[in-house]
């Protein structure tokens, strides 16, 4: 199977400048700087690369939204705020292949003619942050970051910007607020960041994994990348598998790869042979799938959607048959309530009350109507807020109820017990 992101993973010293250079690193940057920015954007458009942070928006198309020749400076933000439960792929890219990530970001910055790039990195990340800071410093010394990069006449500066613990900063406008030195509260769109983002200037926010694919695309051509994967989901994707499998880990497979093969071949099958109950295929925010349905699905945007969920960030959470679904949903509810930024009422109140009700249901202290109330909260807060966080709690609630309602009902006190209270 063709590897795009992990082609050089595990090679000696690949995390260093020299190691990356020896593996052919920076040839894509050199090539890109000899192209016009428009040509670079066209190449990435032709690859069909879609944003790997979860939304799946075509990367090249996004770059094309930046106005040409405007007076305002353009900014690139690299979203390395990997916080979606079940997702740990960007960490691997930054820890093991920092110069590949940085090369991709530099090509992106050139394509949109950015003046400055912010590498926004999760506050908890240690090795990733050190690696990226080091990589930026090395490239500054080598003249690949700074004035007139490789004689192209283009200047770029880079800031490695450490977050401080807020899931919502993984949302692109929340991230922008945080870069600006504010609470990480998402902003209404429009205006879209490509026109009016950080500091009121055109801004592109890209996920690390999206950018990490760019050097390969520039080296081999967009058509080579788009030949991988399925008709609509091009290329390869990282899947970080966690939970009840023998070999959890981060694996790169072509889009359209069967979930059953990912679980049974790459991950060595179900942990200790215990049966599987459910799989969340794209990070904790996407709908849960019964394991038998998930195991018949292929891993591309369209197939997963047809089967009732979303590919999201590629965080595959595998749940064995001994787990209590109400307990897992209680954990997720508490998480979203904790992370709601509080500016939109449906989310602040919905996640807060939703979490409280989920908790008492899980503890067997549910009250009559609680399940209906949760269903109503989930419906009400979905799509009524500035960002996607409220929907990220709605989707688990609705899908857990759709497939595993009996487990919740079994925890509800019987009418006799209520009457005897």
């Amino acid at each position: 199977m063709t590897k795009v992101l992990f082609e050089h993973r595990g090679k000696a010293d690949i995390e260093t400048f020299d190691g990356w250079k020896a593996a052919g690193g920076f040839s894509a940057l050199e090539k890109a700087l000899k192209m016009t920015p428009e040509e670079v954007i066209e190449e990435v458009k032709s690859s069909g690369l879609r944003g790997r942070g979860g939304a799946g928006f075509p990367t090249g198309v996004k770059w094309g939204f930046v106005p040409k020749g405007g007076e305002k400076p353009v900014y690139l933000c690299i979203n390395a705020d990997e916080s979606e439960p079940g997702t740990c792929k960007d960490r691997v890219l930054m820890e093991e292949l920092p110069f590949m990530c940085l090369e991709g970001a530099l090509i992106a910055a050139y394509a949109i003619q950015a003046k400055m790039a912010f590498w926004y990195i999760r506050g908890e990340f240690d090795l990733s942050e050190r690696r990226m800071r080091q990589a930026v410093e090395v490239l500054r010394e080598k003249g690949l970051i700074g004035k007139n990069v490789l004689g192209s006449g283009w200047d770029i500066d880079f800031g490695v910007h450490r977050g401080a613990g807020a899931y919502v900063c993984g949302e692109e406008t929340g991230l922008i607020s945080s870069v600006e030195g504010k609470q990480g509260q998402p902003k209404l769109k429009p205006p879209f960041p490509a026109l009016e983002g950080a500091f009121g200037c055109p801004t592109i926010v890209n996920n690390v994994e999206s950018l990490a694919a760019v050097p390969w695309i520039v080296n081999h051509g967009g058509s080579k990348y788009s030949a991988l994967g399925t008709e609509k989901s091009k290329g390869t994707k990282l899947f970080s598998v966690s939970g009840a499998v023998n070999k959890p880990g981060v694996y790169e497979v072509e889009m359209g790869y069967p979930m059953a093969d990912l679980i049974n071949k790459e991950c060595g099958g179900a942990l200790n042979g215990i049966g599987l109950k459910a799989i969340i295929p794209g990070g904790s925010s996407v709908p849960v799938m019964p394991a038998d349905v998930a195991m018949k699905t292929n891993l591309d945007y369209e197939s997963v959607q047809e089967a009732g969920s979303l590919l999201g960030s590629g965080g595959v959470i595998v749940i064995d048959e001994n787990q209590s679904m109400p307990e897992l949903l209680d954990i997720l509810g508490r998480f979203y309530a904790h992370e709601s930024c509080g500016q939109c009422t449906p989310c602040r109140e919905g996640t807060g009350w939703g979490a409280r009700i989920l908790h008492r249901v899980h503890e067997g202290r549910g009250e009559q109507q609680d399940l209906e109330t949760l269903d109503r909260i989930a419906r009400f807060m979905s799509g009524t807020t500035i960002c996607f966080l409220a929907s990220s709690m709605s989707m688990p609630i609705q899908s857990f109820f759709k497939h595993f309602k009996h487990e919740f009902e079994a925890l509800m006190p019987t009418i006799d017990a209520v009457a005897g209270d």
Partner: protein, 176 residues
Amino acid sequence: MSQDDHIQAANADDSPVTEKTLRLSPEREAYIDDLQKRYPTKLATLLPVLWAIQEQTGWVSKEWMEYAAQRCECPASHVLGVVTFYTMYHQKPAGKYHVQVCRNISCHLRGAPGIIEAVEKKLGLEHKCVSADGKFSLEHVECLAGCSWAPVMQINRTLHEELTPEQAVRILDELE
């Protein structure tokens, strides 16, 4: 307290703390100076300033929030809003070893409840508490993006992966 006393007390509280001339270490001051030259606004350096403060003093006190406000040319109320918005800025001194145990779904599926129980018992601490000798503080945290190596805990900036309760206790035992 008479009304005058109240006014005096209020004035005392409001006295400009700049007279105490809080300063970061020369390296940190130089780092912030450099950022402020390169970043589009001074406000944009607030998160880095707060990190520098926490690295130097272990937490972010009210006095240092005033310092950050002056350094980034913004109201102190804005700084307070930012410090309280993000979970990683400590508003009181944390332990020498700040222990964060992940409680989210992927770690839960691989035994996080057992790790939390063992760590709480070992340290005699609950969520968000600091030990009397100041050596340890404990926090249950949401996903640390160590899902494929679950269960995990992070001590200061070091991530410990694929833990068993026994290993977690041993790691704590070995800390000086």
